[in-house]
């Protein structure tokens, strides 16, 4: 399987707990994106990594959200002190290079996060 892989596929946790979501992009893809999708809604941009450049964190909704990426490989999205409003599907996507050349994004199947 050469697609984008996300884990876990489902996560149920209690309010106030921290959660860590993982994304394995397609090998060789330098750009990686995280989105949040609430039930029945479109995608909300969270953060974008491109190679060794500083990430674009402009979409992170609060300081409880953070993300890291090691080189051009795995990324983790961490949500601290989860709230019920954080319940959503978190989607990761990767693309071969900078969007400037109009590359499409390749998506994982997401992590469905439920906060009790």
């Amino acid at each position: 399987g050469a697609g984008v892989s996300q884990s876990p596929s489902n996560k149920v946790t209690e309010k106030g707990k921290d959660v860590e979501l993982r994304c394995d992009p397609i090998s060789g893809h330098t750009a990686l994106y995280w989105y949040r999708q609430r039930l029945g809604q479109g995608l909300e941009f969270l953060i974008y990594f491109q190679g060794n450049s500083a990430p674009d964190k402009s979409g992170l909704p609060s300081d409880r959200f953070s993300a890291e990426r090691t080189g051009e490989s795995v990324s983790t999205l961490t949500i601290q002190r989860t709230q019920q409003e954080d319940s959503a599907v978190y989607l990761c996507a990767s693309s071969p290079e900078f969007l400037r050349v109009g590359q499409p994004q390749h998506f994982g199947d997401g992590t469905r996060l439920s906060i009790l």
Binding site: F45, Y48, R100, G102, Q105, F107, G108, D109, R112
Partner: protein, 113 residues
């Protein structure tokens, strides 16, 4: 914030009919992409149209772009039950050294036998 707004929000048609979905956006763009999302899955890229293009075809898909009206349409001809999914437009805008892909709110398409 969502730049693209799809219309209609939901569409129900019978197999064999054509389905048309529209997308409007607010700012200038470099290209526009359409994606499909099956229930419980990630998005799958369907087609990309650049800002200097007006129409593009791919199999049963036809996409138009009118930059003067800031709108795009996706036409699926001879629909099949397997086309049932949500469809999203996404605009790409380059600003300095960054680019943003901004998704619309989606159209839920139901194709019945």
């Amino acid at each position: 914030s969502q730049q693209g707004e799809e219309d209609p929000q939901a569409l129900s048609i019978q197999e064999g009919e054509n389905a048309t979905m529209n997308c409007s956006y607010k700012t200038s763009i470099n290209n526009l992409q359409w994606y499909r999302q099956n229930s419980g899955r990630g998005l799958v890229h369907l087609i990309l149209i650049r800002s200097n293009e007006r129409e593009k075809h791919s199999g049963r898909l036809r996409v138009t772009l009118d930059t003067s009206k800031k709108s795009s349409s996706l036409l699926i001809t001879a629909s099949r039950a397997a086309d049932t999914a949500s469809y999203f437009c996404a605009t790409v805008r380059h600003t300095g050294t960054a680019s943003k892909l901004t998704f619309g709110t989606g159209t839920r398409l139901q194709v019945t036998l």
